[in-house]
């Protein structure tokens, strides 16, 4: 059986302590700059905070993974190298990387620190994963959320490293690390700046008929009737009109959460080593609830007991859930 480690989000020092206390096997976090893919205002760590976080986590047997998973634009590579230097000095357990230049630097400079391949690298075949393993000594790949369980099982047989999969949280629809939608509308890049549909560009506008438009940089991403709940204007979760769909429809995906709690036993059996919970932008209480529930479920499964799935389902109560690609390729 696999280790079934629980990898939990830590957007702030407080969330990190909460995740550690709630039973995370590892927490992942980033610095307050473009070097990670959740470069949101009010999130992430200063070097001093990270030093304290490493001490807190390690004192409780929890690993700390540092996300350096964006793509430095030419001329700014030093920022990523300095972040790696700082992380190494502070004793992080792994770096989560996507850019080949960043991976190469860390592999050469800090060969003793584990490299994890971020979902932002979009390695979705055994060959792509092996490329990173053989060239940079990658020890674990975070798989894109686009594969079915039989496909994961097959990949597992053909690669020399561990597998981490997302099990819960925001359900990204585009291949990560290959999406410039936000930059097209706002001028801030997901790959280079770590920004996705940024709050600074969001506006909610009440229309004359009582409906509400949620806008990003002046573009109407969705429109909600007076009775509808207004949603955040994430570009890939908006409603648009197409020639065959003049009424407007979710062209890419509905605003929906990924919840693979029912599939946990199958994922363990398929050889997944680590389960990742998305949500560095989430609150402390959210992190506490989700981590506790998954901790209990994973422990139950490992002990051969039936997991209490109801608690996990309740976490997203009132919200639509999906098992996405993991359950069936009809999702595609």
């Amino acid at each position: 059986m696999s280790l079934a480690e629980l990898i939990c989000p830590a957007g702030t020092p407080a969330a990190l302590r909460t995740a550690v206390d709630a039973g995370a096997d590892a927490v992942y976090c980033g610095f307050q700059d473009a070097t990670n893919a959740r470069n949101f205002p009010g999130l992430n760590f200063t070097p001093d905070e990270l030093a304290e976080a490493v001490a807190y986590a390690h004192a409780r047997g929890t690993k700390l993974l540092l996300a350096l998973n964006t793509y430095p634009p030419a001329g700014k590579v030093d920022l990523w190298r300095q972040a790696a230097d700082t992380g190494a000095r502070l004793g992080v357990d792994s770096f989560i990387v996507a850019d080949m230049g960043v991976a190469d630097y860390i592999a050469r400079t800090y060969p003793g620190i584990r490299l994890h391949l971020s979902v932002q690298a979009a390695a979705s075949s055994p060959e792509a994963i092996r490329y990173y393993c053989e060239n940079f000594g990658v020890k674990r790949v975070v798989l894109p959320r686009i594969l079915t369980i039989p496909e994961i099982r097959q990949i597992r047989r053909e690669i020399p490293c561990e597998i981490e999969t997302f099990i819960f949280g925001n359900h990204g629809l585009m291949v990560e690390g290959r999406c410039s939608l936000t930059n097209y509308l706002t001028g801030q890049s997901t790959n280079m700046d770590g920004v996705c549909s940024p709050a600074s560009d969001v506006e909610y506008v009440r229309d004359a008929d009582g409906s509400m438009s949620s806008q990003l940089a002046g573009f109407t991403i969705d429109r909600f009737g007076p009775e509808e709940k207004t949603g955040y204007p994430t570009i890939c979760k908006g409603r648009y009109a197409a020639p065959h769909r003049p009424e407007g429809y979710y062209a890419f995906e509905e605003p929906i959460s990924l919840n693979l709690s029912r599939l946990l036993p199958d994922l363990i059996e398929a050889g997944v080593h680590a389960f990742k919970i998305e949500g560095r932008q989430r609150s402390k209480s959210y992190v506490r609830g989700v981590v506790r529930a998954f901790r209990a479920a994973v422990d139950d499964i490992k002990a051969g007991r039936e997991a209490n799935i109801a608690d996990l389902i309740a976490l997203t109560e009132g919200q639509k859930q999906t098992q996405g690609a993991f359950e069936t390729k009809k999702w595609r």
């Binding site: 430095p72 634009p73 030419a74 001329g75 700014k76 590579v77 996507a98 850019d99 080949m100 230049g101 190469d104 390695a123 979705s124 075949s125 055994p126 060959e127 792509a128 092996r130 490329y131 990173y132 053989e134 060239n135 686009i146 594969l147 496909e151 629809l173 585009m174 291949v175 690390g177 290959r178 999406c179 410039s180 939608l181 930059n183 097209y184 509308l185 001028g187 890049s189 790959n191 280079m192 438009s213 940089a217 573009f219 109407t220 969705d222 429109r223 890939c236 908006g238 648009y240 009109a241 197409a242 020639p243 065959h244 062209a251 890419f252 690609a325 390729k329 009809k330 999702w331 595609r332």
Partner: protein, 308 residues
Amino acid sequence: MAVKTMTKLTLGPIAYHWSADARRDFYARIADEAPVDEVYLGEVICSKRAPFHEADLPATIERLERAGKRVILSTLAEVMLKRERKATEDIAEMDSAEIEVNNAAGLFARGKRPHRIGPFMNAYNEATIAWMAGQGATHVCLPAEMPAPAIAAAARAAGALGLGVEVQVYGRASLAVSARCYHARAHGRTKDNCQFVCEEDSDGMPLRTRDDRPILRVNGIQTLSESYIDLLPEAACLIADGVTHLRLMPQAVDMVAVAQVFRDVLDGHVPTGEADAHLAMLSGHAGLSNGFYHGTAGYRRIAAAAPA
């Protein structure tokens, strides 16, 4: 001008599902009439489409090469299924062909044999480009979203390593790819039973916001910009910064005429302002944009600082 005439004009791979007939006609005209130096061929977006036109590939290559064009075969951007892995490996194993790799699976198969780096490979910086050059890359096409200072820094580094440097200067920008087919979804189908409905939209399926503003284009698993990138006014700066190849992406417009406009400016035959007005006319209803280059929202059109 001597420097400018060294600059190569390239035609990127067709992103859309054009019929075999349409492709044959298109490349026949390109071979006979378009002043492009290099042409990228092959299916980059959807592996299901390849059987429709791959039988024509040898004849197309021959036709273009006879016309003096250099031909490069591009590999898939997304590699997940068995047939996609096989298609990528088949191209990577062709020792005689020049190839452009768009997925790390292709890099794995190609090993240290010479190859070009495609725009889906995320070669954003000098460290990555140096790594790739050490693995056999001879040429790199930068991501479409890169701003001017980063392009200049990347081009300088790549040039010092002897690599060709390419930037897309015309056509819709690829903004995202997905495992899901959005063309099929719009028609209530899935990728496996899509019935190739993407063939209906030779320039992508338009999406409009709910207040009726054009925003994006869908092309199967790919999402494209509504506007066409137009870096004709910026071409001189790109070349001065070390970009050696300018890429035109095929759209459902008169691409021979588009190529001619770029060639005329590169050769100094037509002033940029006049040429750009002509390009806007050739581009029909599509808006033109250069926001990415200028470090702002990609859809924006930033006026040139001074007339060329």
